[in-house]
Amino acid sequence: MPSKEPPRRRVPGPARPTRPRPASAGARPSRPASRPAPRPAAKRPGPRPPARRPRTIRLGSPRPRLRLISLGLTLVMLVFVVRLLQVQAVDASAYAAKADRYRFQDHTLSAERGEITDRNGIALAASVDAYDITADPKLFTPEESKLPDAPEQAAALLAPILDKDPAELAKKLRTPKSRYTLLARKQTPQVWNQIKDLKKVYGEKSRATGGTGVNLLGGVLSEPSTKRVYPNGELAAGILGYVNAEGKGAGGVESMLDPELAGKDGKIRFTESGGRQVPTAGSQGTPAVPGSDIELTIDRDIQWAAQQAITEQVKKSKADRGYVVVQDTRTGEVLAMANAPGFDPNDLSAANAASMGNAALQDAYEPGSTSKVMSMAAVLEEGKATPGTHVTVPNRLHRGDRLFKDDVDHKTWYLTLNGVLAKSSNIGTILATGQLGDTQAESNRVLHSYLRKFGIGSPTGLDFPGETPGILAKPEDWSTSQQYTIPFGQGLSVSAMQAASVYSTIANGGVRVEPTLVRGTKGPDGRFSPAPAPQESRVVSEKTADTLAKMLESVVDDREGTGNRAAIPGYRVAGKTGTANRVDPELGRYKGYTASFAGFAPADNPQVTVYCAIQNPTKGSYFGGQICGPIYKKVMEFALKTLHTAPTGSEPARLPVTFEPTP
């Protein structure tokens, strides 16, 4: 090994100058001999005499040093290699991602929210671009703006554009130690353009005069955002609902179908320089998927007529609230669902929280006489009576623990079953439904089964947020008085939609079609997918339904009927009035009334059902026939015109109402 490394010998060279010292000790002659193999000599000091030791003191042999250094270097290199492997191979993706995070800017591509349209495609809710106007109060301080009253000056300029109080704006601009303040939310692009123009003018002015050199409006900024607009204002607000500040649906259809409407936000990442994309660096991401458009079954014009009529009457009667539901009898589609008072979803700050829901679906109340039609349906379907069956109605009827009476004090009436409905006799209805079973319990069960089949006590199937299923106790749980009041519509609760659906069922030949509010959705690809067909179930036979329709006609067209005010000249109209004792939700006991009217037209070929109810009318009449009848007429006329429904031209049935008692 040593013989193989002759060049290495040069290395210990520098050690030579140190040698003279040991040489002077007298060991010089032996030195050349030891040269060829210095290492073995050093390793084997044994044979050498101890006297030689001082002469062997040198800087040390280079080999161990070299080995140590190369070992150290190897270790360092090894560490480097390991680290390199770790960086380049093991954790490569993590580091690459980290690098990308700094290189690329992520941007969210916000998905456009879908529109909500009526059945003819007229937009009822749409999203538009908007700007939040913000400001940096620091730029309005006297030091920055070089003006003592910059906030006031700026506020005076901005106030007319933003339609705000200048003092309020100035206060916001004076926010101390802040760099952000929100001046106005969701302004139209036009408003922002106006401010931009104004900013430009002031920017030029500050430079031209050379005075301050500071743009007065330089601290006014904007943030792009989107705004949900409801072009028709209060129209159908209860159905449409509203969106919250984050743009998510928070009520009504907006909330019910939020996933469909919202779409899916996209993402894009690209390298950015000065806010501009670097074209050569490439970009990647997923595009935003816009939300689907929802087409409702609502007809805007009928909705308007309904809403106008009910709003006016609620105001006139100083009532708590009112609802109108218009439904297509054959398809179950809801053509209008109006609430009063309503709210303007464009300006929720002004809305009354109590009227922000859709009361026609969310209020449960005792329907009163309009529900007698279900009792009659049960009696007819069970074959216990015919429209001509004689019913002798006494002035008072003692049942259970109570003495029942009709809403007018009368001598003994001699009515047909048809007359019982036309004159809305409670006593007559109790007598008739008593025939449903051999015992009262049996009758209750039969009546209950019919009420359930008509959809009372279960949700309508609209899946509307906050919808009430109504209240209908099991027949075993009916109290003594309840079993006699339920036949005439007290002691059970329904929503306006459920009540309307009952009449649509009769109008549709006894087949109940689940109400629908959504016709379909139009996806981002422009394809329309209709909503699933509503469920249908037969409640009563066609014959029973026809008979009931004729009986309901007597309510409106008979001189003695309670619903004459709903008559539409030229048409055969079926309807039923209702005046119920109302449970005051605050007091928890009966106080005030619920006036209602339900019906459909034309009676012999029904097309439209209109239901109207007014809660707690306090001024003028409170009878359903008096205040809801005219609304029914007005809305029905409008609907018939809008749908181009001609009168059938047939003669009304005119079933007998009374009979001559045989002495």
Binding site: I122, A123, A126, V128, D129, T188, P189, Q190, N193, V229, P231, N232, G233, L235, R276, Q277, V278, P279, T280, R300, D301, W304, A305, Q308, E312, R565, I568, P569, G570, Y571, P630, K633, K634, E637, F638, L640, K641, T642, H644, T645, A646, P647, G649
Partner: protein, 173 residues
């Protein structure tokens, strides 16, 4: 040190032998030119490509701005249209033109047969005519001067006057 001055030995000598000795036979100028042209051409091409891309990015931005502007305009116009087309606005304008809400619908068949009871549509407020149209009690915003004079009549029961299929129409549609 001292060996650097002497003749090349060992490995260095072997390496030295690899170096070409003597002048090259190829002409030098064309080659240098070629290299310069390649380098310069590449540089210019890259420059052009880059500026083209950047130009595209400027154009993109410009077009995006224009799109925003047009979208804003479209939305503003749509807002105007919606304001005019809203049922409330339509009703108000119809009343200003002297129209009144029609009563019960009546239809005129192709054979001249009249379905329904045609009646004269009356303005809500003024003199009560016998026609039973109590429905017309909408909010009275019309100035009284339009009065009953501006009545839109339905065809009387018998004569088949030229009239649209729906006789008294509404103001809403």
């Amino acid at each position: 040190m001292s060996t650097a001055k002497g003749p090349l030995k060992g490995r260095a000598a072997r390496l030295g032998r690899l170096m070409p000795s003597g002048p090259s036979s190829a002409a030098r100028t064309p080659f240098v030119l070629l290299v310069f042209v390649l380098l310069g051409g590449g540089l210019i091409a890259l420059l052009l490509l880059n500026s083209a891309l950047n130009q595209g990015s400027f154009k993109l931005r410009e077009l995006k701005d224009r799109t925003t502007e047009l979208t804003d305009e479209e939305q503003a116009l749509q807002r105007d249209v919606d304001d005019y087309a809203a049922p409330d606005a339509l009703e108000r304008r119809a009343r200003e033109l002297g129209m009144v809400p029609g009563g019960s619908p009546a239809f005129l068949g192709p054979d001249g047969k009249v379905l329904g009871d045609p009646s004269v549509a009356v303005a809500p407020k003024p003199d009560p005519t016998p026609t039973p149209t109590p429905s017309a009690k909408a909010p009275q915003t019309t100035p009284p001067n339009t009065g009953t004079g501006q009545v839109r009549t339905a065809p009387p029961a018998a004569p088949p006057v030229s009239a649209p299929a729906t006789a008294p129409t509404t103001s809403g549609r």
